[in-house]
Amino acid sequence: MKLIFTQGPSITARLVVFVALSVVLMTMDHRQQHIESLRAGLSVVVYPLQMIVELPGSVYGWFSESLATRRQLQEENASLHTQNLMLKAQTQKLQSLEVENIRLRELLDSSFQVGQKILVAELLSANLDPYQHQIIINKGELDKVYPGQPLLDANGVMGQVVHVGPYTSTALLITDTSHAIPVQINRNGIRTIAIGSGTINRLDLPYISNNADVRPGDLLTTSGLGGKFPPGYPVAIVEAIEHDPGQSFAHVTATPTARLDRSREVLLVWPGETHALKPAAAPAGDASGADAPPVATEKTP
């Protein structure tokens, strides 16, 4: 026998309780970071779901890798070889420049940090809220990722880590409207702040005065002033400048150099941690990634 009014008036009570609970949760999540541990716990709960979503892609990747023909592999190998040679040649030049730079800075009595610990992480393919610019990466607390950690790709700064779980972390991209990053113009050193526009290929620079020397094509690099991002990494390229005589600031927009919506592999940086040179082993297209051992690659100091 099934009763019709089993729940009676209690659903109203439950409604009140759960709505109140939600409001408390939202307040705590927004105002303070008190419930980071709850988030970390929940991230473990949803991890299997994210892995299932990841499965088709990793199976496809595995198949296309194991079924690749000998010729394809040889071609790829050859092109990577050439690229490696070119990069090595560039690094040689860079090393001598870096040493020279340190020497000159020692003469000037100013400190300069070279080399940072870097870890390669992969994006999970799970889709997040399409109106926020966030991504999930497959490295977490177990790999010593911490909130506020800068995230790069091969071409520039991508964003920073906001929530860290044991196996995964969430990162905020520099184009999210709640993100701002201290930058300077590489050509002349003018410092300013680049704010996310909510559009994936645009940053806004609202605090550049009308008479400042800014030109389209200027490279913006991190200034390192906020203390979160290491200095000297490329962020964006100035795209357009509009002068409005009625306003004290020019309207400047820039295009991020990082491929924010296309990069699969990202680099996590530990600013200020220098590590000795070790042979680097890059994960070979392993999309599951989670059980792969963390690969610490580092720049030569």
């Binding site: 099934k2 439950r14 409604l15 939600s22 939202m26 929940l42 889709n127």
Partner: protein
């Protein structure tokens, strides 16, 4: 609470898991803005079909998981889905009797309410307003309601979920 024994709880759990997966499954950019609120649809169905089993607390829990999966403020979807579940329970006897197109319209109202509550929270914490096609999620939800309804109904009958 009831004298009859419950059956097929696994089916309910599986449908919710499937809905959660569909919520985060990678889609091409343009299709992401047309993704219906799968969790909301499944929740509304079970609230209509088995109001003594699935209700406000299920809605809250699923909302919390959606928040976690989509990276929104913790509690944002939880609160919205709690209220959606509550309203569905309140009017389930009426909505059940509606013809399917009228049911779809009611579902549209419930889904829009969900989005409205989520939007209200995100505006409250200072996020910018979404583009006009934000509401396409609910319209898609209305369009897919009839197939979802019939699929879940045949599941429920096939596995005698009660």
């Amino acid at each position: 609470m009831t004298l009859a024994r419950h059956h097929g709880g696994g089916v309910i759990v599986l449908t919710f898991l499937l809905a959660l997966l569909l919520t985060i499954i990678p889609l091409p950019e343009w299709l992401r803005y047309l993704r219906p609120d799968w969790v909301g649809l499944v929740l509304i169905y079970w609230c209509l079909a088995l109001p003594e089993r699935v209700g406000v607390s299920t809605g809250w829990l699923m909302g919390l998981l959606v928040d976690m999966l989509t990276g929104t403020l913790l509690g944002q979807h939880a609160m919205a889905l709690t209220i959606v579940a509550f309203l569905t329970l309140r009017f389930h006897q009426r909505i059940r009797l509606f013809p399917i197109w009228q049911q779809a319209l009611t579902v549209l109202v419930l889904l829009v309410l969900h989005q409205l509550l989520a939007l209200w929270v995100s505006r409250f914490i200072g996020r910018p307003g979404p583009p006009w096609y934000y509401w396409a999620h609910s319209l898609m939800g209305m369009i897919v309601w009839p197939p979802v309804y019939f699929a879940l109904r045949s599941l429920r009958r096939g596995f005698r979920v009660s």
